[in-house]
Symmetry: C2
Subunit: 216 residues, 2 copies
């Protein structure tokens, strides 16, 4: 594999910022978006269970309808692709069995080869997590996807803005999730920065490494 | 900026896998680790508040002591750098003021320029989140860091394994976090795969994109 250099990775991560104003006239080209969408699908998750849905909003009307439930920020309409991360509310044995069946067939394994793994997931998740605990766990998995998505976008030179200031219940209604198996957790706008986005020129600030990294 | 191609990004994300057996004799070179550590520091977070600590464990004794609290998995000892992600348990006005003071000085702003932003963070986090809610929110931010870290490692050709099967309370004791402002959330081993890691050759399996991505 042709790996990136440490310098080019850091250049990309330093280049990215929370884009406030996107260039509404500039869509992400299809092959680039395709890779970003694939980065979502390929995100690692606990047990491999992928307890998520990614709703990619590109329809202008749907984008507009999200603005009032996003603290009236304009990223949903001005960006190219607006991704809503939704987490699974429950994980039952049927869901786990669907995952085990897929792994078994994709890897060409004998029918019961993954029984131990299945039982671990049933004990650890389906039966082991009570009440809202599954949703909290699935929410964390969605945040792995958010992290992988933003890093991937940076590496490809695509601007992004994570959106935590949203009203999940309203998003659920608009996106057809209400009452279903998945609930809105967080969103991320992706596209290209507008030439006059003032945030683009602000110095990136982080706590000193010595404050947040401890080597043992 | 010299961006990566969609193909090279996908090659890296497809190449990575949850490494079960690391080559204990092969450390990550210092310049590569330095970039990975910087990817942690640069992780985007809610309000920019960075409510985390990253404990990088390289000491053999400390690594060994984590194994019994990691379902006896061997990644902590065999990997090169073992990163423990710890989330802040509380965020008070003093913490927010430290962040505001740093931004104000780094960006050369007048003393009260960020008052509105400060009040938003105090209302949204310090006063707005009750009980364990701050820790849950900070935990999500740690998972963004985990996602960015794993994607960054893949892009650099470094193997990694996310570790959710750990006992946070025992980690806290061993790492000196118990009773402090931060609590262990998740970990990630980084290094190089052993030549005989059987997991390296398993087919990567994900639900079909049509099942997890919905375009609106």
């Amino acid at each position: 594999m042709n790996s990136a250099s440490p310098e080019s990775l850091l250049e990309a991560l330093q280049w990215r910022y929370a884009t406030k104003k996107f260039d509404a006239a500039r869509p992400i080209p299809a092959p680039v978006w395709s890779a970003l969408e694939r980065s979502l699908v390929l995100t690692p998750s606990s047990y491999g269970l992928q307890p998520w849905k990614f709703l990619v909003v590109t329809d202008p009307g749907a984008k507009r309808s999200l603005v009032p439930h996003s603290w009236n920020q304009t990223q949903p309409v001005e960006c190219s692709h607006y991704v809503v991360f939704a987490a699974r509310r429950t994980v039952d044995e049927a869901y786990i069995d669907r995952w085990v069946a897929l792994m078994t067939s994709e890897r060409g394994l004998p029918p019961n080869a993954l029984d131990g793994y299945r039982n671990m997931m049933v004990g650890g998740v389906a039966k082991g997590m009570q009440g809202s605990r599954v949703f909290e766990w699935a929410t964390c998995q969605c945040y792995i996807a958010l992290g992988q998505f933003m890093a991937s976008a940076a590496v490809l030179g695509i601007d992004a803005c994570p959106m935590e200031g949203i009203v999940p219940a309203r998003y659920d209604e608009i996106l057809g999730l209400a009452g279903g198996d998945y609930g809105t957790v967080v969103a991320c706008a992706a596209g290209y920065r507008a030439s006059d986005d003032r945030n683009a020129t602000l110095k990136k600030v982080r706590f000193p490494a010595a404050d947040v990294v401890t080597t043992i």
